[in-house]
Amino acid sequence: MPEWLNILLRSTGLFILTLLLVRLIGKRQTSRLTFFDLVTGIAIGVIAAAISLNLVVNLANGLIALVVWTGFPALIYLLSIKYKAVRDIVQGKETVLINHGKVLEDKLLEARLTPEDLLSQLRKKNVFNFADVEFAVLEPTGEVSALLKKDKQPLTAKTTGLNVGQESVPQTVILDGIIMDEPLTAMGLNRRWLHTELEKVGVAPENVFIAQVDSVGQLYLDLFDDAIQVPKPKAKELAFATLKKCQADCELYALGTKQPEAKEMYGKSSKILSEVIEELEPLLKR
């Protein structure tokens, strides 16, 4: 057998074999490699390369090494799912770097991090002032996660005491001009509904690139033809504005009428409407 054919066969065989063996290890995210993951990955790669380039004279020896380097990590990952002790050894523990706003120098030394490293990692998280950090931890993957002090955290609806409406995930009902039946039925809608809605805005179904339905059944569109302006669904805002107008109307009538019972009725209606507005504001406006 000529040498080139040997190498071709070995490479092809090893390519498939490594692919299968690596699958054994499982699909941990490669973007969050621990040092151990890195070592095993490189070892597997080097062994596979060495065998396929015929650097290992005895094929069996090479294969044994390959199987060990893939089998062991697979086994250890399985064990580490089961036992925390194994997990701590293999993946390492997280190290607290900043606690109660104070940098823990000895922990920093333990993690082999210089203060510059810490600052640069924090900057990556958009924290430029270390005094803003209440708690920071070095993850086993080498990334720093930081919890900001309460007053430096981004504003949320809850911290402002704002009541916001509930909204679930919008469903994508048309993709690339093709109607997706499954999301439609998941929303309790059908093709006929979709066609009616598209007719309302005057758009042909073939012209729709993406269409999404939000949790109250409003349709958002993007067309192939970008020159066409599609009206944004305004049913919510419109309903809210109309409600406010009706409430103002009732107040006006209450002032205008001279009959005491009518006055009382209008006043009551306006009061109920203002309650309704208050209750619906989070749903319709926010």
Partner: protein, 68 residues
């Protein structure tokens, strides 16, 4: 515009809003949101009934403006 015509307009707007709320509550998924929507649509229904009653009084007083 007479008062009765104005009240009619308000009545129509309220009916529209009520319809919108009903559609929202029937197509929504979250039970909490659904409940708020349907309870408020019921409140609006009460107001619609009151206004309709008032409208019939107005129409009785000014029969020349009756109808649409």
């Amino acid at each position: 515009m007479t008062i009765s015509a104005q009240v009619k307009q308000t009545l129509a707007s309220l009916k529209v809003v009520q319809g919108t709320l009903e559609t929202f509550s029937s197509s929504g998924e979250k039970p909490e949101a659904k409940e708020i929507l349907s309870s408020n649509s019921q409140k609006i229904a009460i107001i619609i009934k009151d206004l309709e009653k008032r409208l019939s009084v107005l129409e009785f007083e000014e029969p020349q403006y009756k109808g649409f």
